[in-house]
């Protein structure tokens, strides 16, 4: 079954190649991708999530602030009844520490992200995750 997947960045991140790539990848997996782009404020993200009611929300960010803003996004989503259980994942370059970015993973999982994708295997892991969700 085709899923509706909302792709967003965080408010301070201006990178877009990661978003373009994620869009193409999701479409090739047979799902509907809604790419709302870079520099997305939490407020705008929440409105878009309300409007589109996606099956999965993908936060893709590479500027190093993901570990800060990811937490803020999750805390905001939890305030909204209809978004509280939205399957939300985050991936990319989440901090400025290179390989030490692993240290942020637990923090992001604890706050409510279903998965945190980083490093060489992130694309494969993401594909597996999307397939998993499909089977549920």
């Amino acid at each position: 079954m085709s899923k509706k997947i909302l792709i967003s960045s965080i408010s301070s991140d201006s990178h877009t190649w990661n978003l373009v790539y994620m869009q193409l990848l999701i479409e090739e997996l047979g799902h509907k991708a809604i790419n709302i782009g870079n520099c997305i404020t939490i407020d705008y993200l929440v409105k878009q999530a309300h409007y589109h009611r996606p099956d999965i929300l993908v936060i893709s960010t590479v500027n190093g602030h993901g570990h800060i803003e990811g937490v803020e996004i999750m805390n905001e989503l939890k305030k909204h009844d209809v978004l509280r259980n939205l399957k939300t994942v985050i991936g990319g370059k989440l901090g400025t520490l290179g390989n030490n970015n692993e240290s942020y993973v637990q923090k992001l999982l604890d706050v409510g992200f279903q998965r945190v994708f980083f490093g060489d295997k992130s694309v494969d892991d993401f594909i597996s995750y999307v397939n998993e969700v499909k089977e549920q």
């Binding site: 408010s11 301070s12 991140d13 201006s14 877009t16 190649w17 978003l19 373009v20 790539y21 193409l24 990848l25 479409e27 090739e28 790419n35 782009g37 870079n38 520099c39 997305i40 500027n63 190093g64 602030h65 800060i68 400025t96 520490l97 290179g98 390989n99």
Partner: protein
Amino acid sequence: MLETAENSVNNDTINHGYFNCFVNEMRKNNKLIVQPRMGFGTVEEMQTGLIKVKSACAPTIGTLTIDSYTRVNQYDAARRALDSGHKLNGFPIVTHGKETTGKMLEGVMTRYFPVQVRHGTALPKEIFKALLASGLDATEGGPISYCLPYSRVPLEKAIQAWAECAQIFAEATTKGRLCHLESFAGCMLGQLCPPSLLLALTILECLFFKSYGVKSVSLSYAQGTHSQQDIAALLVLRKLAEKYLNDIDWHVVVYTYMGVFPATTQGAFAILAESARVTAQSSCERLIVKTAAEAHRIPTIEENVASLEMAFAVAQEARTQTFSIDEEEKQRLYEEVVFLVEMVLNLNSKLDLALHTAFIKGYLDVPYCLHQDNSNLSRCYIDERGYLGWASPGKIPLPGHLFKNRAHKKQVSSQDLLTMLQFNKNKYDGGHYDN
């Protein structure tokens, strides 16, 4: 080693601008200026970084990269991050304020070590005010280059904001501080933008700055996928700067590859060295470097200094080496860029309106740019030679003779995109590297 430069800078430096004067001086001395990307959240780290860049064995300009909260005008978020000890990815110049910033620069920024503010802001008025108040006189960006790739701000609003900022610089210039403004449009999206569009956009942004009274500008160009094409593009850029900007001070700044960077040390150094060679051989004045750490994390100060010194050494050596020019590509690029620039200038006698109209109608269109005012119908590809060109020009009305044999109808898949994004990484990391 910079004593000659220091002594020879004339006493009117302040009137002619720290930044502007230093560039002119180094041009006379045939020396490439090298500059890092560098920004730290705290005053101590930022000052240490600048001092180390200043003492590098190369003619350097210091960089004050602004953090990404300030870039999107979230000064409160920058304040909260500072207060809570979070590591910021740049220097929050507005939040620190003029006194703190001025003090940080005291004794560091001099007539032979100018500092440029780099920020990425579509609505940069507060940054312009803060940098002038802090004693700085140079920054970069532009109404297109800092709006379309980096923000969700409507283009019209960014054009208006940048017009105000250009006027702020023009006014300071009239009052005796020659301020320098670099157009960042030669770097749209960092990679995969056809060179003709990069050149046309950076020329148009400089014309925009000039129209508001800015007297010192730089045109930018980011290293592409083939050095022969890069040299051709840079020679065309210089020729056209002479044509369009001959009544103000201008120079060209080259950026070491801004896309997905080689991950190996040798690959990273090879692509950096290649950018230094290309810059020197096309007689361009300034190079913004990258480091071997680029693919993995934000580089350390020491890694930046090592890159600066290496790039300068390679550039000096390259000036004595022979190289060839792809005249056919040069001619093609020249025609294409003149076509694009003149097409926009003919849309409206007011450049502000012409630029806006060009994007709204899709006559200017940056491939893969997601901004709401960009048509995103044009597509690019890397041909069998490794040159970057149009796969489809979208609604850009390129004349057929410029476009023929370049059409490439295949739909770009995520894997194709990844391959193109990683073209240079694979080329340089693979070790298949021809000098």
